[in-house]
């Protein structure tokens, strides 16, 4: 069972990711409270951290720091939004990407990496300001939890204009396998907590071993490996791939003059209209020309294989593989009919097989 919801989604995601990365660093609100000893003491108590330099003024004064310092791992604590999460928050460049993933079924989320670098220790009275930068989107990847995208962002904390700490944070946004989606939320600001919050959502219901640690980045045993070559799907070509997924060979058609054209494009070469629709072809054709590919090696394919230009009775030509037939038997004029091959869990490619004439 293939699950192709929207062939344009990947391209739209990547375009959005590029825009968000180009937006650069976006500053959020400064810490509600400056670095202070009561919050440090509360934190150290809860953590069981007995380091005196965090709370004991005398011991701290005699130390390398010369005074009380905050534990470096508290950096994110200072700029947490508090109980009333939305108050005073500003959108970050990450929000829109997470929202688009949520809106397209990638509702599961699991935090996979948290990397913090501390340039120096903070002292009471300092008031860090976080700045978020969208760092990257990779996928779709097959993971133990389901198909997903890895979303990465960076936060830099500034005191005045000095960067004092940095964080890389990565989450996997996935399509839960069981279909019971983790509850989505629009509050992107609190993603890191939600990531933790929903860390086991989906995982607990998956097959044994499908836990986030058992390889968010590895395909589970027995899953079909992803086909390495992906077609370029965009606004002009999406209809074609949607058709392929449904077992239809769709040919672009001018909505004004009715002329068919392939490969798809934005404008009719005959009447210059940009209005377009498509027709479903009969699925018959014949070899107009072909090559037998022996070399170089192509990922995911076993040479030799046939790449043919197939002429359709509808009047256009289309490039495709001729399969289920030894290359030596392929010839110009050979009658063909279309077939649909499931390349992996996502991708269906139209191909051609010999037809009795």
């Amino acid at each position: 069972m293939t699950l192709i919801t929207d062939p344009t989604l990947h391209d739209r995601l990547m375009a959005l990711a590029e825009r968000q990365a180009a937006a650069g660093e976006v500053r959020g609100p400064a810490a509600a409270d400056p670095v202070n000893v009561p919050m440090i003491r509360h934190w150290a108590d809860a953590m069981g951290d007995a380091n005196p330099l965090y709370t004991d003024a005398e011991a701290a004064a005699a130390s390398v720091h010369g005074g009380i310092v905050a534990p470096p791992a508290m950096i994110q604590v200072w700029t947490m939004p508090g109980v009333n999460r939305r108050a005073g928050q500003r959108p970050t460049p990450v929000d829109e990407v997470l929202a688009m993933l949520d809106g397209n079924g990638y509702t599961g989320v699991v935090a996979t990496n948290c990397e913090q670098t501390y340039h120096r220790y903070l002292r009471p009275g300092e008031r860090p300001v976080p700045a978020t930068r969208f760092a990257g989107l990779t996928g779709p990847k097959r993971t133990a939890l389901g198909e997903g995208y890895f979303v990465t962002w960076n936060v830099t904390w500034y005191c005045e204009e000095e960067p004092v700490a940095e964080m890389l944070f990565r989450v996997l946004k996935f399509r839960p396998r069981t279909g019971r989606a983790a509850s989505g939320t629009q509050d992107g600001r609190a993603r890191e907590q939600e990531a933790g919050a929903r860390r086991d959502s989906g995982a607990g219901e998956g097959p044994a071993g499908a836990r986030p640690d058992s390889g968010a980045e590895e395909a589970p045993a027995g899953a079909r490996p992803p086909y390495p070559l992906r077609p370029a799907v965009n606004e002009d070509t999406a209809f074609f791939w949607e058709g392929a997924a449904r077992g239809e060979l769709r040919i672009q058609k001018c909505a004004d003059c009715g002329q068919l054209r392939h490969p798809p494009g934005p404008m009719c070469p005959s009447c210059r209209s940009a209005a377009r629709t498509y027709a479903v072809a009969s699925g018959q054709g014949e070899v107009y020309s072909y090559v037998v590919h022996h070399h170089p090696p192509v990922p995911g394919r076993q040479a030799p294989f046939v790449v043919a230009v197939v002429e359709l009775p509808e009047g256009v030509r289309i490039v495709g593989n001729v399969v289920d037939c030894p290359p030596s038997e392929v010839g110009i004029g050979m009658p063909l009919r279309v077939t649909y091959r499931q390349m992996d869990d996502e991708l269906v490619l139209p191909m051609w097989i010999p037809r009795e004439s």
Binding site: M39, H42, W43, D45, A46, M47, G48, D49, A50, N51, P52, L53, A59, S63, V64, H65, P71, P72, A73, M74, Q76, V77, M80, P81, G82, V83, R85, V110, A111, T112, N113, C114, E115, Q116, T117, Y118, Y121, R180, A182, S183, A190, E192, Q193, E194, A195, G196, A197, R198, R199, D200, S201, G202, A203, G204, E205, R211, P212, D213, S214
Partner: protein
Amino acid sequence: MRTLTEDQVEIGSSLPELSIELTPTAIVSTALATMDFTPVHHDVEGARAQGSKDIFLNILTTMGLVERYVTDWAGPEALVRGINVKLGVPAYAGDTLTFTGTVVGREAGEFTVEVRGRVSLGDHASGTVRFALPE
């Protein structure tokens, strides 16, 4: 509490193990101390409604405990420069979180310790902590 000196840190040596009982109080107090009020860290019903078996440790606390694990051993004046953590299974209330660590590198006055925090389900967190020792 004394801080280690550079010649006391040997590549390949192990840190003493640290086990932390994850009582509900530990989960809740650390979540609140890190200003994380997400219900799954303090509300059992809320956590179950979301498919978790219980409340569990938040990520800011995981980072804090990893830091504490290394400075407990290296000493109060050890200067923590960075923590890189790969997050794994949830650390639920009622479980025990056990840290182990090994000194794996030293470069330009900076040491690297490899740390693993395990719970009954597997690795909760694994990664590295970088720190320097005062002259």
